[in-house]
Amino acid sequence: MLSVEGVSVRFAGISALSSVSLAVAAGERLGVVGPNGAGKTTLLNVVAGLVRPAAGAIRLDGRPLTGLAPDAVARAGVARTFQSPRLFSRMTVEENVRAGRSLDAEPWLRLVGLLPRRGDLAAALPPGEARRLELARALAGAPHVLLLDEPCGGLSAAETEDIAALLERAVTPATILVVVEHKLRVISRFCQRVAVLHLGEKIFDGPPTALRADRRVLDAYLGKARAS
């Protein structure tokens, strides 16, 4: 169980997250959506240890993650991808998946269809393959928690379909999955639950089917006048 308990984050006095609480059980897939600036990436950063919360706590199976350095959070079983893929461009595709860890990169490269490119430098990959490589790197550590920040961001419809199908194949039933994504079609496809953030606050937490009927969500996305 991943628990985010009353987490607040402020940047130079501006509230990026305001007392956000979430609990994601083992095997559960949570989508996080919201307009730009809602605090979605900040939420992932605070769980991953890249940002320290001003208040609140984060726990994984009861074990506190709050205040741990990002590398310690990673070793506790939390893996992530970034909004723009952060690959090691001067390293090969295979080295990117291994990433200094003692593991066999081959099955993960096969999974994402990059085995034929294992010896290429990561800098040579087009955006769709770069996304798949970053996903393989996150999956390769067999994480307990997988945080994906816009895994389909900037991809074509066909590439988005590839990534969505890949996620369905690759994520094990016990993995806690938190996906930040603008494409609601992707969220609806493999998340049982969706949380909506708006201006740093959680305004909705429920099944994707109930999302479009929620008044606060419509207000946040469309503005009060248009929503009514």
Partner: protein, 299 residues
């Protein structure tokens, strides 16, 4: 082989250690203008061990490397979390700190009829273990060349290992590295210690060949050159900095018609290369292509 050629090759070998030292830090994304400090720390420590306390030459040189490595580890306590311009500025300040400290460092003891040891601005003279030990200049040059070759191999193997992968990851993106479980500070600290030891090894070799060392050897120009060597030769392989040293000292200095213009040619070479090949002649892309070519040729 002429005495001039031997001394030129020894100088290439000695400076290769400082260049490899700067290279190791560049691998983890740190630009250091202070590796010359570890060169003199290693030189003084090695000289003290052999000239003042009668340690055998090899032991003295090892003492120099260890002392500089310890200095690197101590500095890393402050500097390991720091990157970018702050690391560059801090390393420059450390280099100057060591140079100025050596100007007032006096530690002389009677050896035979003379007082020997560091004497402030007059430097540290009378480090004669190489010559009293009966080692010829040519044999010493071959030993230095062998050590450079061994060091190159060791670094090449290190960079292919899991630890080396972590170093290269840190050099590209510390945030992504940490998010994959890499202990960035530990990698930086150990690399700083190793880089210090390498520069100190060069210092220990130099002081025994030259028989002296002085605070001026910690001048920032050695640090700037060692960085430039890596940027000329290329950051894709530890062979890069060695090629950089050989190009500068071996080619430019040995062409007598360049006398007086060497620094202008060297500066121009560095500037030109930084524009057309920002990561040097043997950058990661070039090394990758070459290694593929070699693999293809073996089939």
């Amino acid at each position: 082989m002429s005495d001039y050629a031997v001394s030129l090759l020894v100088r290439i070998g000695v400076e290769a250690f400082v260049a490899l030292s700067a290279y190791l830090l560049l691998v983890i994304g740190r630009v250091s203008f202070g590796q010359q400090a570890f060169f003199v720390i290693g030189g003084y420590a090695a000289g003290i061990a052999t000239a003042l306390y009668g340690a055998p030459l090899a032991v003295g040189i090892m003492v120099g490397a260890v002392a500089a490595g310890v200095a690197g580890a101590l500095l890393s306590a402050v500097m390991a979390p720091v990157g970018g311009i702050y690391f560059a500025a801090g390393s420059l300040a450390f280099g100057e700190l060591v140079r100025v400290a050596l100007l007032s460092f006096h530690y002389q003891v009677p050896v035979g009829a003379d007082l020997t040891g560091p004497a402030g601005a007059d430097g540290f003279r009378g480090v004669r273990a190489l010559f009293t030990g009966g080692v010829s200049a040519t044999a010493f040059m071959l030993a230095v060349a062998g050590l450079v070759a061994l060091t190159f191999l060791a670094i090449a193997l290190l960079l292919r290992s899991r630890w080396g992968e972590a170093m290269r990851m840190v050099g590209e993106d510390e945030t992504a590295s940490a998010s994959l479980g890499v202990r960035v500070r530990r990698v930086a600290a150990l690399t700083m210690a190793g880089a210090g030891a390498l520069a100190g090894l060069g210092g220990g070799l130099f002081v025994h060949y030259a028989t002296y060392m002085e605070p001026g050897h910690s001048d920032v120009m050695l640090g700037v050159h060692s960085l430039a060597y890596a940027f000329i030769g290329g950051l894709g392989t530890p062979l890069g900095p060695i090629i950089g040293v050989a190009l500068d000292i071996g080619l430019l200095e040995s062409f007598r018609f360049l006398a007086g213009y060497r620094m202008i040619v060297f500066g121009g070479l560095v500037m030109g290369l930084l524009v057309v090949r920002p990561r040097g002649l043997l950058d990661e892309v070039a090394v990758h292509r070459l290694s593929r070519l070699v693999a293809w040729g073996r089939r």
